[in-house]
Amino acid sequence: MEIFTYTFVQYAFLAGTSAAILSGILGPMVVSSRQSVASDVLAHVALAGVGLAAVFDFLPLVGAFAVLMVSAILLWWLVIKEQYATDALAMVFISGGLSLALAFMHIAKNQAISFETYLFGSILTVTQSELLLMIVLTVIALLTVVLFWYPLLSIVQSPVYRVPYSHRPQYMQLLFFVLLALTVWVGLKTVGGLLIGALLVIPVLIARNYTHSFKMLTILSVLVGLITMYTGLTLALFIDVPPSSVIILTLISFLMLSTIAKKYLL
């Protein structure tokens, strides 16, 4: 138990808590609006921000944050224009983000930045300043979702239930993309950009069988995310496997158990 007294382990649990709460809150909205791939899109684009930071010599997470916010706004604008199919847009952003990242890292040859840290996470190396920023952003996102809960719910429903002569949903959609970008940003250093999608989607798939309301689904998704995060992180401390890998595999195990329980016990 001594291992839990180390500061880097405590930071890891707190960072994991932030990632699980943010993913749990946004996950049901992401699944309901069929935007699961959007987290992957933003994660790839964030790598361009990491590369940009390498070229101009500033903190990688600062570069990722700036690029994520700009990309969220651009993605929203292109989605509401409805000029291109969303899956085609996703491919443009993913390939564009990776190409830029590759180019930037080539230019900044001398920088000792590892893409792997942001692709697959590095939760045990979270610094105090990164943790503080994660907690502040999580609290802001949480308050925003509480404040705009019902308007946000409306934009993740089928567009057939639109309200005549109302343009508000478009701005709610922008808010949704910005919140998703924040979630991806927190995910970059915790479970990794490529794995944050699992933390967004799988808790929802587990929780959906046990509730009749969206609010309870969201609360259950947060709980599933937290339990998974703590279980996976604890296991990773005692076996020599990357934490993000153990966390996501634990989540998939829970999904399998839940599916079996639903089929044979419920």
Partner: protein, 238 residues
């Protein structure tokens, strides 16, 4: 035109719509008098939903003009989508609150009491407020959509194929509900439907549409005429 413009709640003048070279609507002009129920019938691809989208403000890229009275308050009742088996749970309360709040043009956020009253008005019980809206029967879901429309206190409702997926008994009850809302609450309606028999029985007048309006057609004769199968309609006074 049967309705004098000064009594009309809404007047459409020479409405036209095309996608590239494909004409969806042309030269569509009509008026809807206050407190009337006006039906629109026509085959698939006749432009019925396109016309509804233009009136509802969802589609602003069209030719012609639409004039509305200043005090008009529009609500929309679509067909309840139930084809998605992966849809996530959403309570009746959440469904109603998510579209009836001040971000959607209402003066205030809807209260639980108002939601309960709206549900009662459409024949649903208060106990159903916490049920998953997607687990309700087809008729109950459509009643929830009517309650959703009523929460915005409308004086004009556009209904686009609202009862297409509802069984015969529920459909009759829902038509009675629409008639009640029209007669007792003075709500004007534009009702788009394939159900010609029901539409004729409930509507004050029917627009026969197949890309343009065919005046002088009787609705029941219209559906069996070549104007129905080949694009051509008009308003028939019942």
């Amino acid at each position: 035109m049967a309705v004098q413009n000064n009594k009309a709640l809404i007047t459409a003048h020479n409405i036209g719509k095309k996608y590239d070279s494909n004409i969806v609507l042309y030269d569509v002009s009509f008026s809807i008098a206050e407190e009337h129920i006006v039906g629109v019938i026509g085959p698939n691809g006749a432009g019925k939903s396109t016309l509804a989208n233009i009136i509802l403000g969802f589609d602003t890229d069209y030719d012609g003009s639409i004039k509305m009275k200043d005090d008009i308050r529009i609500a929309y009742i679509p067909q309840f989508s139930n084809s998605d088996k992966y849809v996530l749970p959403l309570s009746v309360y959440e469904f109603l609150r998510s579209s009836a709040n001040k971000y959607y043009g209402l003066q205030h956020n809807i209260t639980t009491t108002e939601i309960s009253q709206a549900l009662e008005h459409v024949g649903l019980s208060e106990s159903q407020i916490n049920q998953n809206v997607y687990s309700l029967s087809g008729g109950e879901r459509q009643r929830v959509l009517i309650a959703r429309a009523l929460l915005s206190n409308p004086n004009f409702i556009v209904l686009d194929e609202p009862l297409a997926s509802v069984d015969y008994v529920a459909r009759s009850e829902l038509y009675e509900l629409l008639r009640h809302l029209n007669e007792e609450h003075s709500i004007t309606m534009l009702l788009i439907s394939h159900d010609v028999e029901s539409i004729v029985s409930i509507c004050n007048e029917v627009l026969c549409l197949n890309k343009t309006l065919h005046y002088g057609c009787h609705p029941t004769k219209f559906v069996s005429s070549d104007k129905f199968t080949h694009a051509v309609s008009h308003k028939y006074k019942i």
